[in-house]
C-alpha cells in the first residue's frame, strides 16, 4: 500500500472545477463586505459627530485615533495593556485550573458531585461584582483582588463544561482500558481527561473574555493602573475620545486572547477531523 503521508497529485481536471472558484469568490466577498462595513460605520460616525450628535457624547473616530496616539506616545498605553493582560492571564489560569480540577473530581465521584451540587449552584448565583468590596477588604487593592475576581468569573463555565465532559465519557472506553489492566488513575488520565478536553476547551473559549472583563471591572473599582483604570479615569474627565480609545484597545485584547485559545484548541484537538 502506498503511503498516504505524501499528498496525492491532484488531477488537473479538479483544478478547473468551477466550485473552487466559487468558493474563493465567496471568501473574497466576505472579506470585502467586512471592510466595507467597518469603513461605512466609521465614516458615518465621523460625519454624525457634531452634526447630528454633539462630539462631547460620542467623540469621533479621528479624535479617538489621536487619543490613542496620545496614550501610546505619553507612555500610558503599554503599561496599562501589560497590567491588564497579566491580571487576565493569571486570573484565567487560576480559574481554569480550579474549574478543571473540581470538574474532574465531580466527574470521577458522583457521590461528591451530589453532596456539593447545591453549594456550587448557590455560589454561582452570587452576583460576582458584589464580592469586590470583600476582596478589597481581604486582599487590598493590589494584583490579588483582580486575579481573584477574574478567576471567580472563569471558574464556573470551565467547571460546568469539564463536569459535563467527564460525564459524557464513553463508558465502553473505560471498560476496554480496565480489561487491559488500567488502574483508576490510568482510566482518568488516559481516557476521562482527554475525552473531556473537547468540552474543557469549549469552556475555556467561553471564559477567556470573562477573565478580561473581570480584570477590567476590578480595575475600574479600585486601581491606578490598567485599561479599566484608563476607561474609568477618562470617563470621569469627560474625555469620551480617551474612553473610546481604551475601550477599543480592551476589545482588541479580548479578540487576541480568544484567538490564542482557539489556536491552542486546534492544536490540542487535532484528532478531530
Amino acid at each position: 500500500m502506498t503511503s498516504v503521508e505524501t499528498r496525492p497529485v491532484v488531477d488537473e481536471v479538479f483544478l478547473v472545477d468551477p466550485s473552487i472558484k466559487a468558493r474563493r469568490r465567496q471568501t473574497v466577498i466576505v472579506i470585502i463586505s467586512r471592510l466595507v462595513l467597518v469603513v461605512v460605520g466609521l465614516l458615518g460616525w465621523e460625519l454624525a459627530s457634531d452634526r447630528l450628535v454633539s462630539a462631547f457624547w460620542i467623540s469621533s473616530p479621528s479624535e479617538i485615533w489621536s487619543a490613542l496616539l496620545r496614550f501610546a506616545t505619553n507612555g500610558q498605553l503599554l503599561p496599562a495593556v501589560w497590567v491588564t493582560l497579566a491580571e487576565t492571564a493569571v486570573g484565567f489560569v487560576a480559574g481554569a485550573v480550579a474549574g478543571i480540577l473540581v470538574g474532574v473530581i465531580f466527574g470521577v465521584s458522583p457521590l461528591i458531585a451530589r453532596i456539593l451540587d447545591p453549594f456550587l449552584v448557590a455560589l454561582n448565583s452570587i452576583p460576582r461584582v458584589a464580592l469586590i468590596p470583600l476582596f478589597i477588604l481581604w486582599f487590598g487593592i493590589g494584583f490579588q483582588t483582580k486575579i481573584l475576581f477574574a478567576a471567580t468569573l472563569v471558574f464556573f463555565p470551565v467547571f460546568l463544561n469539564t463536569f459535563s465532559g467527564a460525564r459524557d465519557v464513553d463508558r465502553d472506553l473505560i471498560d476496554v482500558i480496565r480489561v487491559m489492566g488500567a488502574s483508576r488513575v490510568d482510566a482518568v488520565r488516559r481516557v476521562l481527561i482527554p475525552s473531556a478536553l473537547v468540552w474543557v476547551f469549549a469552556g475555556l473559549r467561553m471564559s477567556i473574555p470573562f477573565a478580561l472583563i473581570g480584570a477590567v471591572i476590578a480595575e475600574m473599582f479600585t486601581s491606578n493602573e490598567g485599561l479599566g483604570y484608563l476607561i474609568a479615569v477618562t470617563a470621569n474627565q469627560y474625555d469620551t475620545a480617551g474612553s473610546f480609545a481604551s475601550l477599543f484597545v480592551t476589545t482588541a485584547l479580548g479578540l487576541l486572547l480568544t484567538w490564542g485559545v482557539s489556536q491552542s484548541e486546534r492544536r490540542v484537538l487535532r484528532w478531530r477531523a
Binding site: 500500500m1 502506498t2 503511503s3 498516504v4 503521508e5 464513553d170 465502553d172 472506553l173 471498560d175 476496554v176 482500558i177 480496565r178 480489561v179 487491559m180 489492566g181 488500567a182 488502574s183 490510568d186 488516559r190 481516557v191 482527554p194 475525552s195 478536553l197 484537538l269 487535532r270 484528532w271 478531530r272 477531523a273
Partner: protein, 263 residues
Amino acid sequence: MTPILEYRDLSKVFFKGNQQIYALAHVQAEVRDGELLAIVGPSGCGKSTLLNLSAGLMVPGTGEVLYRGRPLTDVNTQVSYVTQKDNLLPWRTVEDNIALPLELGDRARLPKDERRARVTRYIELVGLGGFEKHYPSELSGGMRKRAQLARSLVYEPEVLLMDEPFGALDAQLKLVLQAQLLRMWEGTGRTLVFVTHDLVEAIALADRVIVMSSRPGRIRAVEHIELPRPRDVFTVRFAPGFGDYFERLWSALRETIDHGQGV
C-alpha cells in the same frame, strides 16, 4: 486439566429502564485452554453478556464464572476484549492506540525499545503499515478493525474474547480478516472465544461451536469441528465434512430462531 474459563449454571437478568431482560438461563459450559471456541446464536441471545461476564465487567446473577478454576470477582485482566464497536481512543494515532496496553500495569516496565518493536510488529501483522500516524477518524471501518485487533494482540493476553468482530464488514473484507486472524492465532496456543451470528464463519474458524438459543440464552448444541489445521478460510467451506457440520448446527440454530421471534 482445569478449563481456562468455566461457566457454572449461569443466569443473568438485567434492567433496561423498568423492563426486565432475561439474558442468560442455566448456561453451563467451559472454554478449554488453547482452543478456538465459537459461540453462535441469534442477535440478543446473551452472547455479549457472556463475554462481559468473562471479562469481569458484569457480575453474574446466579451461578459463577471461573477463570483457571477461581471465581472471577473483579475485572479480568488476563483477557483481551475485542468489542463490536472498535473502541479506539479517537485522540490517539494508530500507533499510540496500539501502544496503549503496553503503557498499563506491569507492562509499563518493559523497555521502550521493546514496546516500540512490538507495536511495529503488530502494525505490520495486521497490514496497517504506513498508517501509524493516522487518527481513527481518518481510517475506514476495516482499518479501524485491524487497529483494534492489533491493540488486543499486542500485549499477548492468555484469552482473546471477540464479540462479532467482523459483523459490520463487507463479505470480502470479512474473509481477509478471518484469514489474518487465523494466521495470527494458529500455533500460538492461546485461547480464543469468538462470538458471531454467522454459522459459516463459526465453522470455518473454530475447534468447537456452541449454539445458543434466543433470550433467555441457553446452550442448544455443541459441536466439535475436526477440520484439519492450518485452515484456509477461503477454501475450508468446500472441505469434506463442512456441509454436515453446517446442517447439524443449522437445524439447532433454526429451532432457536423459530421459537424465539418467528422470523
